[in-house]
Symmetry: C2
Subunit: 149 residues, 2 copies
DNA sequence: TTGGGTGCAAAGGCTTTGCATGTGA
DNA sequence: TCACATGCAAAGCCTTTGCACCCAA
């Protein structure tokens, strides 16, 4: 099944209309895995194929997809919300990857790890807090930037 | 030494003038440890003692203090930047506490842990990425909200 | 004295919303 | 057909900035 058809069904499953715009956004995001794009960047990218699309539609769509868990939201402190295609299956929270953010060049890399599961069970024991999702950002210097110095 | 005097010296050490407003903000934040206040909330709080203070001054001051490492910044996804008095000594990055954020009542709790040190050294080995700071947010349900359900 | 700091108001910049039009089911 | 979705423009909202005045050193 091609990706367009897959997204069409995915949208319908969630009670949404499978519009050209929504499919275009999903396709664009899924062909850029690991990139963490702002609404504006998504807009510019999608507009190359669908020049008629409006920025407001991009905002509405990513908010929708984010609520459904199809895409993941990332907040850095540059004032932009960023999105990437979900790595986990729908609703499967708690298995996000970690983000490695280079303080020098701004590049965002990812790292998969289960180390936090220990921490989460300990927190449940000690604090009575039941963790259902987590977000880890690691700031530092990437290989390339370290080499250049 | 009283806290006012302490903050006065702290500011001077950093080449800043020890103004009434800056000291008031520092005192307010330090008397509310563990609270994660927005600029507006800081403004409202400080204004009870210093009604003349301006919101712009609050923004300028928290930005300044944040750059100096005297206060810590926290970004949730509600569109506000939040601040709390620093827990680590100045410049001692990498020893922040983790944040437990209740999805039900919005309460933010903290948890101290060194578990990430393992992860960080592994990342350095595998990815060549040198971690200097991290931020961990754990979303879930706090003890009280779990009890109510 | 004097250069950094403050207060006020205006401007910025990202995101959301209102409304008329368009379109997938 | 018709309720949902889109596009455009305007509004919202948090934060920053310009500028004249003020005050800590």
């Amino acid at each position: 099944m091609n990706s367009q058809k897959k997204f069409k069904e995915l949208l319908k499953e969630n009670g949404l209309k499978a519009t050209t715009q929504r499919i275009a956004i999903l396709e664009m995001l899924s062909s850029n895995p690991g990139k963490h794009l702002t609404a504006e960047e998504i807009y510019d990218c999608v507009r190359q194929d669908y020049p008629e699309i409006g920025l407001a539609t991009v905002y509405r769509t990513i908010q929708l997809l984010s609520e459904l868990g199809l895409i993941e939201k990332l907040i850095l402190d540059d004032g932009y919300l960023r999105y990437e295609i979900g790595t986990s299956s729908k609703g499967d929270l708690g298995h996000h990857h970690h983000h490695l953010i280079c303080l020098h060049c701004g590049k965002i890399d990812t790292f998969q790890d289960d180390l936090l599961e220990n921490l989460e069970s300990r927190i449940k024991e000690i604090m009575g807090f039941d963790v259902v999702d987590h977000e880890v950002k690691l700031y530092g210097h990437c290989k390339q930037c370290r080499g250049e110095k």
